[in-house]
């Protein structure tokens, strides 16, 4: 079963790390990714540049509307993602608990929804049994 682990942290808090601390954290993240791939628990993923570099796009009335920045101001910002392939939520939790930024911010684990040609599960149905 596939899950995405979304990594969030407060960018301003991370700015306070020294260059050495920041590099050390990044080396840890590289090692974490390699180890998860070695166990065949990770399909892919990336760290992201800061929200300052984000561009948000919407199509309204057939027109592409572009704005600067992320779509919502939040306390913690999306900093990266891991696409995991594991047995169940317990394994996903174990894998995600190895992601180093979990010590600073938070990791949101979401099951992947596979798109289908038909009979896609609606949001309404997800609330039901």
């Amino acid at each position: 079963m596939k899950y995405v682990a979304l990594v969030y942290y407060d960018e301003q808090a991370m700015e306070k790390l020294s260059q050495d601390e920041w590099d050390a954290l990044n080396r840890e993240c590289i090692a974490c990714g390699e180890s998860l791939k070695e166990r065949e628990q990770m399909i892919g993923g990336n760290a992201l540049l800061s929200t300052q570099s984000a561009t948000t796009l919407r199509i309204r009335a057939g027109k592409v509307d572009i704005t600067d920045g992320p779509f919502a101001e939040t306390k913690e910002q999306l900093a990266g993602f891991y696409l995991l392939d594991v047995k169940d939520l317990n394994e996903a939790i174990q894998a995600a608990s190895k992601i180093p930024p979990a010590r600073y911010g938070s990791i949101e684990i979401r099951p992947v929804r596979e798109l289908q040609d038909e009979n896609n599960v609606s949001y309404e149905a997800q609330k039901r049994d």
């Binding site: 939520l89 939790i93 997800q126």
Partner: protein, 424 residues
Amino acid sequence: MSNQHACDSNAIRKSIEVLYKQESRKIYATLIRLLGDFELAEEALQDAFNAALKHWPTQGMPEKPVPWLISTGRFKAIDSIRKQQRQREKLEVAATEMDGVSDIAGQAQEQNANVIEDDQLRLIFTCCHPAIDPKVQVALTLREVCGLTTEEIASAFLVSNTTMAQRIVRGKAKIRDARIPFELPDDTDFNNRLDAVLTVIYLVFNEGYSATQGELAIRSELTSEAIRLTRLLYSLTPDPEVAGLLALMLLNDARKAARTNASGDIILLEDQDRNLWSKGLIAEGTQLVAEIMRAGEYGFYTIQAAISATHAVATTAAATDWSQIVELYTQLHKVSPSPVIELNQAVAIAMKEGPDAGISIIERLLERKEMQRYHLAHAAYGELLSRAGRTASAINAFKTALNLTTQLPEQRVLKQKLLKLGEN
């Protein structure tokens, strides 16, 4: 049909009823593991008992009824999945599960009953998974493990049936969609996960024990379900803290009859009629506490149980071993530091050394912001001030407490205190 036969079939129907009462939750838990789906398991359970009602009166009871019911339920479920080809996905899941356990009923007959007992434990751990909202954990545990109806749980927690039904649906959907497995946590996680289970059980107990609103019958069902679950848990995982929680609940439950008067008002521990305390529950609770403490490895629940046990064996409030209670609070504070524990300890110190000793501790505690909004801190402060003869200050403290609580029974207790001091 001969009379003898009719008599036999009546007896068999009675046995099926008894089986349903005693074993249906166990069978359900096993069916959930086998079928990997709450709804399928629920249907399979009903189908299995219907099949028993149909066949046993004429064919006689099978030698091992529980494995028969499990195996029948499972086959009925596969049958119904096959009929509903549109539920292709469920079939695949169930079919893979099925391959792994080619004939669980056959195996179960050979194996001991441990596998089936463990299924209930698996279900408890699944319903109390930390990825599920705590409120939903409690509701799911009562519904799926204890078999209470949604209406009963709703009325116990004073929410509407719709709200409670949604909560349960939300929990089941989370288990299904996020794929929370029906598995016991592995060794590294076990203690953490066990803590979550104990928290849920203690919440269930306190919901039944503390609140004075709601239907009495259902409230006492909650406390007895919490105790039953803990007994089950203890028989499956003999962890000292499970025993500690069991002892704590038994000792608190022992005081049930003395805790309120006829009009539902709270009677404080020191004013309770100790003849109304259940001697049997106290004996069992204190013995458990003694055993755990002798073994030397204990924590949060056991220490609270030990405090409760110290109260329980005292013939009067004055005859209580207050030194021991003060010492136990020190231990409790080490395990789980909290100003509320310091507050309780201050009251015990006042009982041991006189009100002034307690007053100075509470005054220090009241400098903390979180304690300034806590009505029980002001109530305890008022009580000690009143004992020290400082009536005017006591009245002020009780009034502050009264302003901070919204619970009617608590308000009545405080109003009585104020009346006694000549205020209204």
